[in-house]
Every structure is written in structure tokens, then in C-alpha cells.
């Protein structure tokens, strides 16, 4: 039992080692995947779409035991010498195995064959029905029959979904840990634009997703950077119209007319070139038209802390002098009794007023004056 297992392992290992030379039989013995052919020398295991079966060597033909297969390999011209000598070794190993074991193995493979037949049958992808016509994800293409009945051999669909979710998380976690750091290799240090590079382009990317706005390109430049005379610069600004920002003195234009970024950028570049040429031609410099800045809403005036209030030594001295002066004034006025105090003034003023004759209270009711006057 164990010995057979060992021999099986041996075969498996060999088959694993032979990278290019595929052993369909042995592989198939433990695989549920569709029959694929490994063309010798072709390492890719793609299902041969478009390739006719006749061209494929030993398509669907089964070997009784590994030796046959190895023989074919040795015969095969396209096999690499490395494979061939591997095959040699394996053949030797095979010869050494005692006969009864070989027989057992053949028996085993037969059984395996018989079991594998239904599994190995070529799985047809379902014809896309109407409902699943626009389905992107093939996993979601299902036929409703027998979808929900649950025989007790598996976890529920929700649980599968959960697992799927976890797999997704972990995938991104892996990316974050293993691949993101590699981005650092692409890092470039910033170098400021050179003298000649006056145009500043802005692109928009949505991380590979499609977005109607990702074709948009914006260019900003300062007329002063272009080598133009004052008049030409002014004309350029006038041409730019409402794209001119009088505060920053820049012109900012965008284009999303065409389908691709590159086209838009190209268009902008041409446009700027045209504008510059127009600005340069001396036939009509728009002298008579004043620069129109109505489109620009000026920011509220940026107020800032007054410089002359800064506490410099001069300022300090000046303030000291002021305070000294004012204290001097007060003390002098006090000394000369010239400091005007409102309350004292009032008292003094009242004192020198001539006293009014004192009114005497008479008994109530007698005096007519006592009766309150109505308005």
C-alpha cells in the first residue's frame, strides 16, 4: 500500500519536474480540469482554441503506463535535451520497479481512468441566455433550475459570498503590503519647470476607470513668460478674453472637445501657438479696445497688520515720548489747576448761580396750583 503510494508520488514528482513535457495521463488521474494539451516545447497550458485536434499530438490518447509515454518523449524531436535525459532517468527508475507493482499501478490507473471519465468530459460553457447577455462576470451566469436546493454537502451561498469578500480583502491587503512599497521605485524628484517650459498642463485620471471628464486637459500660462513685447502681451490677454485672470495675470484654457486626452492637449497647443502668432502680427494691435476684466470678481481687499505698528526700538521710543508728553500735559494742568473736571465745573457753576426763591408747601386742597394739570 505504502509502497504503491511511494511509487505514485515518484511519478507525480517526475511529472511535476518535467515542466514542458506534460504527462496527460498522470496529470489527469488527479485533475478535474478539462483535457488540455501541452504541445512539447510549448509551456503554456491554454486550451487550444482555433487549433484543430488533428494537429495536437496524442490528443486524448491514453498511455497504459509511464514507460510508453516516456518513450514517446524520447522519440519526440521537439523535446529539449534536458527533458530527454530526465526521461531517461525516469525510464531507468521505472525499469527498476518490480513487476507486480507495475501491474498494481496499471490497475490503479485504469480505475482512476474510469472514475475520471465523467469529470474529464469537456465542460461546455452555457450558451448566454437573454438574462445573462450583458453579464460581465461569468460566475454570475447561472441557470435558475436547482439553484436554491441545498443538499447538505456545502456551505450556503451567503457564506461563500463572505469567503469571497475575505479573499478580496486579503488580496488588497497583499497588494498594499507587497506591491505598494514598490511604487517608491518609480518616485521622481521634483524639478521646477525650466525657462522654456511656460505651459502648465493639468490632466484628470480616474484610476483607470472610464469617466467622461478624464479626457479634459487644462493649460495655464503667463503671457509674461512668452517672449512678447508689452503690446503683444496685452493683445494676447485681450484675445484670451474671459480666460485671463487679471489678479494672477495668467491665461487658463481647457479643452474636452475630443475623445482622447492627447487630442485635446494637441488642440490646446495649436490654439496657443495660433494665439501667439496672432498676438505677434502687427497689422492690428487692439489699441482701441480696452482690456475687459468684467468677468473677474475681485477678491475682497486683503488687509494686513499695519507695518508701522510693529514694535521696533524707534517705535518704542516714540511711544515713550508720546506718553511722557501726555503725562507732562496732565501733571502741568493739574499743577496749574487747569484740568477741567465736568463734575467740579457743574458744582462751581451752580454755586455762583443766583438762588431761586424757595417754594413753600401749602396744605393740600387749598392751593389751586396743587391740583394736577391735565395735558
Amino acid at each position: 500500500m505504502a509502497s504503491t503510494a511511494n511509487s505514485l508520488r515518484l511519478c507525480l514528482r517526475t511529472s511535476r519536474q518535467t515542466s514542458s513535457a506534460v504527462s496527460p495521463l498522470l496529470r489527469r488521474a488527479l485533475s478535474t480540469t478539462t483535457a488540455r494539451c501541452g504541445m512539447p516545447g510549448n509551456t503554456s497550458y491554454l486550451t487550444p482554441t482555433g487549433v484543430t485536434k488533428s494537429e495536437i499530438p496524442f490528443y486524448n490518447q491514453t498511455f497504459q503506463d509511464p514507460s510508453e509515454y516516456l518513450q514517446t518523449v524520447l522519440k519526440d524531436a521537439s523535446a529539449s535535451p534536458r527533458d530527454k535525459q530526465r526521461a531517461q532517468q525516469m525510464l531507468k527508475a521505472w525499469e527498476e520497479i518490480p513487476i507486480d507493482q507495475k501491474r498494481e499501478l496499471q490497475q490503479l490507473t485504469k480505475d482512476a481512468q474510469n472514475e475520471m471519465v465523467p469529470l474529464r468530459r469537456h465542460m461546455r460553457t452555457r450558451p448566454t441566455q437573454f438574462w445573462s447577455a450583458h453579464e460581465q462576470d461569468p460566475d454570475l451566469i447561472t441557470d435558475e433550475i436547482g439553484e436554491d436546493d441545498f443538499e447538505e454537502d456545502d456551505i450556503m451561498a451567503g457564506a461563500h459570498g463572505k469567503l469571497e469578500e475575505h479573499r478580496e480583502y486579503r488580496e488588497y491587503a497583499r497588494i498594499a503590503v507587497w506591491e505598494m512599497p514598490l511604487l517608491a521605485n518609480f518616485a521622481k524628484k521634483f524639478e521646477p519647470p525650466a525657462e522654456g517650459e511656460v505651459l502648465r498642463f493639468r490632466y484628470t485620471s480616474y484610476m483607470g476607470e472610464f469617466h467622461p471628464a478624464d479626457r479634459k486637459v487644462v493649460v495655464e500660462f503667463c503671457p509674461r513668460d512668452l517672449d512678447l513685447t508689452e503690446a503683444q502681451q496685452l493683445k494676447l490677454c485681450k484675445l484670451a478674453g474671459s480666460r485671463y485672470n487679471p489678479e494672477k495675470e495668467t491665461i487658463k484654457m481647457s479643452c474636452e472637445r475630443f475623445e482622447h486626452q492627447a487630442q485635446n492637449k494637441r488642440y490646446l497647443g495649436d490654439l496657443i501657438a495660433k494665439m501667439i502668432t496672432t498676438a505677434k502680427d502687427p497689422t492690428d494691435t487692439f489699441e482701441d479696445i480696452p482690456l475687459d476684466t468684467r468677468h473677474y470678481k475681485k477678491k475682497k481687499n486683503q488687509i494686513s497688520f499695519p507695518k508701522e505698528w510693529y514694535m521696533t526700538p524707534e517705535r518704542k521710543a516714540e511711544l515713550e515720548a508720546q506718553r511722557k508728553r501726555s503725562l507732562m500735559i496732565d501733571t502741568q494742568k493739574r499743577a496749574r489747576h487747569e484740568l477741567v473736571d465736568g463734575v467740579q465745573m457743574i458744582e462751581a457753576g451752580i454755586a455762583e448761580m443766583e438762588p431761586v426763591e424757595e417754594l413753600v408747601a401749602v396744605k393740600r386742597g387749598k392751593a389751586p396750583a396743587a391740583r394736577p394739570l391735565r395735558r
Binding site: P290, L291, D292, R294, S326, L327, I329, D330, K333, L339, V340, D341, G342, V343, Q344, M345, I346, G349, R375
Partner: protein, 472 residues
Amino acid sequence: MSAPNCLRCLGRRPSTATTVTAAGRCAPFSTTAVNGNVPMRAKTPNPMAKEIGFRSGARLTIKKKKVNHNEGKAPAPGERKAYRKKIVLSNDNALPVPWLKNMNAEHLASPQSAGKVLSLPSELQDQLRASEAFQPSQNWGFFRKPSTLVRTETVDLVTRMQDSASEKKTLRLVVTGSKLVGKSTMLLQAMAHAYLNGWIVIHIPDAQELVNASTEYGRIPETEPTQYMQPAYALKLLQAIKKANEKVLAKINTVSSHPELPQNIPVNTPLLTLVNAAKEAEGAWPVFHALWSELTNPNANRPPVLFSLDGLSHIMKMSEYRSPSFELIHAHDLAFVRLFNDVLSGNLKFPNGGAVLASTSRSNAPRSPSMEISLAQRKAEQAGAAPEELPKKEPYFKGYDDRVEAVLKSVEVMEVKGLTKPEARSIMEYWAASGMLRAAVDERTVSEKWTLAGNGVLGELERASLLTMKYF
């Protein structure tokens, strides 16, 4: 709410309308009276409504609080305005200030009196009152005698007036400044100086009255472009001039006869009689015109003239008046405004010198963009700015007015600023001495009020110290 109506009309006795109408004329469930050819009646309360008792249940009755109007008669028309505009120049409660001096002819021109408070002599008070130099919004009524603070700006202005008079030139100047800073007071001081020095003063206290279509107006024949006179205002102004300048006018005689006037005014009659010739409105404008021609007559010896106007921006826009073709009349087509602008723009000169002063207003003033821009330009020029760095006009702004800019092309601009602390101190001492400021006036108090008044804006200083609930 149609349903209750319908139910109601089911229970209702046949109403007048339904009785009148022939059967089947009205829809069975409608509450509206049929108004086909039926004569509608005056609505009468339905006598049956009560006993049938629809709209039963409690009703919301809001009891109006009865206000008893048992007072006397309402004030006569114009009385309220008179009360509002009443100008009180003295307050017997206020203490007399011993050190206060009366203003005389030289005071305002002398730099020594800068930063001093001077009181107006009674005769001058009457003159200023006649020419409506005092305003009800100014707090004259707090003190025993009306007195003003002589500021450095005042001295500056007055000296310039004197110089122009002595050189027989006409000073053309616009007084600007922020709100409540004392522009009108500056005019008043200028007028005070003029009166004290025997000038002839013509003052238009509020330019708004000229343009807001409040006085009657009429076309002046054979004028191109058509000008409009304001006879009623002319009469008012003439009387003000007469009252204010009586003495001076009595001394001066006419140099030309004025045939256009109804009364014959021979040569060498005193101008006073000429002014008196205006008895009622319709004759007033020619008389004023005659007076004006006399004053501006080049070959005559006249005293210098001060022509002042408050609220400049009113006359720098379209007026409210309408021309016969019902278009708005430009303020410069009104004769008075035209005269003023002639002098202000320098087209017309007073032969013996004088001054024309205008002050902008901040309290009630329409925006006049071209006035603002040109005043800003003048200010920049005086500051010595090169012509290219003057403030520029908005190229695409529609609201500018060339006539206004033409007038203000070469005027001088004087901006009135806030008081300095010494000035503030002196006037606050005056207030305290007259018992209206119950506090010791020392540097700290002064500085504090100065701060509260937005760096010594005079009007704000008054608000902060006189018109306050604060108990000092």
C-alpha cells in the same frame, strides 16, 4: 370648502335670488346667485340666517383694544416738519464757559487759533441761521452759545479763501471726507469767515431740494440747450441772501439797469432794493438773474463772493424733473445748478475774487460714479501723482457722465480727517466746562473717546460723549 356650503344650502330657505329666478335656471347644488338677466340687489344680511342657525358654535371674536383719541387737534400741516427742523442754538441749563472768546474777522485765518474753541457772535448767528448753515442733526442745542472748534483744516481753508480774495481769484474747492467728520461744519466756518469779512455769501443748504422735483420749475425762453428756472426756490434763496447779507447789499449799487425786470431799477440803486424787488415767486428768477449778473459784472467793484453748496452728489446726476417730452432733465440744465457749475468749473469768475465751495454728503447722497472718480483723480493729482498713475475709469462701465467730469476737471479737493488728540481735548474741555460732560478731561479720557469715535471723527465724538446713556 364647498361641501359644507352645499349641505347648508340644502337646509336653507329659498333665498331672494332663487325665488326670483325661474325654475331650473340655477344649478340645484350651487350657492351662487344666478346673475343672468336678474337685477342684482344690494347684499342684505339674511334675516333667516339666525334662526336657521348655520355657522353655529362658538365664534372667534377678537376684541380690539380701544385706544382713546381724546387729545387735542392734530398739528397743522408743516408743523411737524417745522418741529423736526427746528434749530435751537442755546441751552440755558448749560454753564457759561468763562474762557470762551467770540469769533472775529481775523481769528479763523490765524494759525494761533487752530485747536481753539470759538463762539459765534449773535449777529453772525442770525446770518448763518438765515442762510441755513446750521443743521438740525448737529448738536448746537446743548450749549449756552453756539461755538465751533477751529481746526487746522479750517485755518488752511480760510487762508486760501483770503489769498484768493486778495488776488481777485476764485477759489474752487470741494470738501470731502468720511461720515460725520465735519464737512458741513467746515462750510459753516468758511461762511462765518466770509460774513465776518464782509463777503457776499450765497449758500444752498441742501442741493437735494434743487433736483428732487419738490419746487416748481419752468423753461427759460431762448436758452440753448433749454434751461429751467425754479422761481419758488429763487424767491426763497433771495430772501435768505437778503437777510444774511443785508448790510453789504445796502452798500453796493447796481452798475447796469435791468429792463427785463417789471420794476425799473435804475443804475446806482443799492442791490438791496434789487433783491427786494422779488416779492413773489414768478418775479423771483429774473431778479436773481439780475443780481447774479451784477455780482459777476467784471467792471464793477464788488466785495468777494462766497458761493457754497452742501450735498454735491445730488447735482451731479439726472434730476427728478421732466422735460416737456417727458425725459429726465439733467441737473446741469437747471439754472441754479448751472450757475454753480459755471463757477465751480472755472468758466465764470467773480471779478473781485471769492470762493465757491461744495461739500459732499455721506448721510443722504446718491452715487455719482463720475464725481467719485474725478474727485479721486484730483486728490491723486494734488498728492503729486503722475497722470498715468491716476485712478482709472472702468472701461466697460456705463454710468459715467462727461458733463460732470468736465465740471470737476480742475477743482481742488480738501479731505477732512478726524480730529487730532489735542483738538479733541480742547473741544472736550469745552464740553466739560459747559457741564455737558461729567468727567475729568485728562489724556486718558480724551484718548479713549478718540478711539471710540473712530480716530477722532467729530460727530462720533459727540455721540460717544454727549449723546450717551453712560453715567460718568
